[in-house]
Symmetry: C2
Subunit: 250 residues, 2 copies
DNA sequence: GGGTGAAATAATGTATACACAACCTCTGGC
DNA sequence: GCCAGAGGTTGTGTATACATTATTTCACCC
């Protein structure tokens, strides 16, 4: 987050948190003037922010103009998680095969060390620290691949609220043995980084895909046993189905 | 392409073709007013178009403001092709495992039939038709997966000028047995669609990845034997290396 | 002669005004 | 009572004006 907020940043962060907060869930369309007034910015930077959120998939354009909050189906979310797993796995494989930048590897190790601190064996888990360093580790995974393209793509995926590595890490989520599942995830982190360091491409890829499946597991558990918890997931407008258009311009 | 061009469309298509035409290759920064005047639009839609091209990866932002044409390394391109292969493979696998929409399958078949026409056994190849229907088939591959997310991601990838399925299909490229390579690609298309229809997920994925490697082969051949041909690739600013930043905000 | 600083110029970020399009409402007629 | 049309209202798309920031150049001092 930039130190000095430009009007655009103000609009982007403000709009994103409004959307994630579920402010416009029922709305047919977001009124630009109303939102601009609410955020204290003018329409120009707000429209830029809207464009950005559209490209992130949080909003979707309406044919006649303007945009509304995107509707996610459960399948959208599992798809997103699966695709993130594929991409992260590819990144890990690339990193292993090409040899990862030692500087970035050190940073990744540092992130994992801090997660260890967050998960201190005795005492209360520092959940906030975990989420932050977890996000940092996953971002570093993209950069370790040494490809600007995959780095950017992964960053984009990780911004998707429902596929991000931290999306369903809700302490109150009621997942059984939640703390143990975090420790399990951390062991996976270590294994992934080790595989990359040892230049074991296939192993790194498989481990990373497996790791991503944790999010799937959590999501499945939540939708089955605690559906109201997914309602608590910021901005989640879950529907079971959605009419799809199958038009094609030959 | 919309029938009635809005100012934004005018800016987007105009700017894209200017960039792809290599108009700003040496420039430190694109002047908004100058480009706006050249395209006959005002700065507002032009800036939107710039944002779009930045998200497509054709332009990149400058820290101090404004943007310039993106610089691609050869590795960027091979990476992009590989990642596209991974994503398309995933799409094909999803389509096969979930069962593809018959309507979309029919459209894909239609695209392939038209490619057959383009590759008519005797007579000159209809290269333009091939490229169009090839792009259509690859777009349909994304939609067959039945996931809005992967569909959008693939569309984004396919817009990347250097990773797109048609990027190195340059008739004059001097690839040996060029027409035969097109027929080979078409046989791969058929096999992919067949695997999807038969719901053979792994086979569909493998075939699709293999198919994507064609672009790699072509690109490798061109850079090795006809480096000047890659110069002819629209807007390609190829450099051999690039200084990377490895900063990290802990 | 070279370097540093300040001022001027130019370009971007932001705001606002205007025009056109869509939608909703209200009224009149059937 | 219901439907249709016209007018108003709301909203987006576009342009332009303004302010802020970066860059460059010139002059002065070392």
């Amino acid at each position: 987050m930039p130190d000095r907020l430009s009007q655009f940043d103000k609009a982007l962060f403000g709009l994103r948190s409004l959307v994630l907060g579920g402010a416009f869930l029922g709305d047919k369309r977001l009124s630009e003037v109303a939102v601009a007034k609410q955020l204290g910015v003018s329409r120009t930077p707000l429209r830029q922010a809207m464009d950005r959120l559209v490209s992130e998939g949080l909003l979707e354009r309406i044919e006649t103009g303007g945009c509304r909050v995107a509707i996610f189906t459960k399948q959208d979310i599992t798809d997103a998680i699966e695709i993130r797993g594929v991409m992260e796995g590819t990144a890990a494989k690339m990193a292993a095969e090409r040899g990862a930048d030692p500087l970035l590897t050190a940073q990744a190790n540092d992130a994992l060390d801090r997660i260890d601190i967050a998960l201190a064996p005795r005492g209360r888990i520092d959940f906030d620290l975990y989420v932050r360093q977890n996000a940092r580790f996953h971002n570093l995974l993209g950069r370790l691949a040494g490809s600007g393209l995959i780095e950017r793509e992964l960053e984009r995926m990780n911004r998707l609220p429902l596929a991000s590595p931290s999306a369903f890490l809700i302490e109150q989520a009621g997942i059984p043995d939640f703390q143990e599942s975090l420790r399990y995830a951390q062991r996976q982190h270590r294994a992934i980084l080790e595989a990359i360091t040892n230049r074991e491409g296939s192993r790194a890829e498989a481990l990373t895909r497996e790791h991503a499946r944790l999010a799937l597991t959590n999501f499945d558990y939540l939708t089955k046993h605690r559906p109201e918890a997914t309602k608590g997931v910021p901005g989640l407008a879950l529907v079971t189905s959605r009419q799809g258009s199958t038009t094609d311009s030959a």
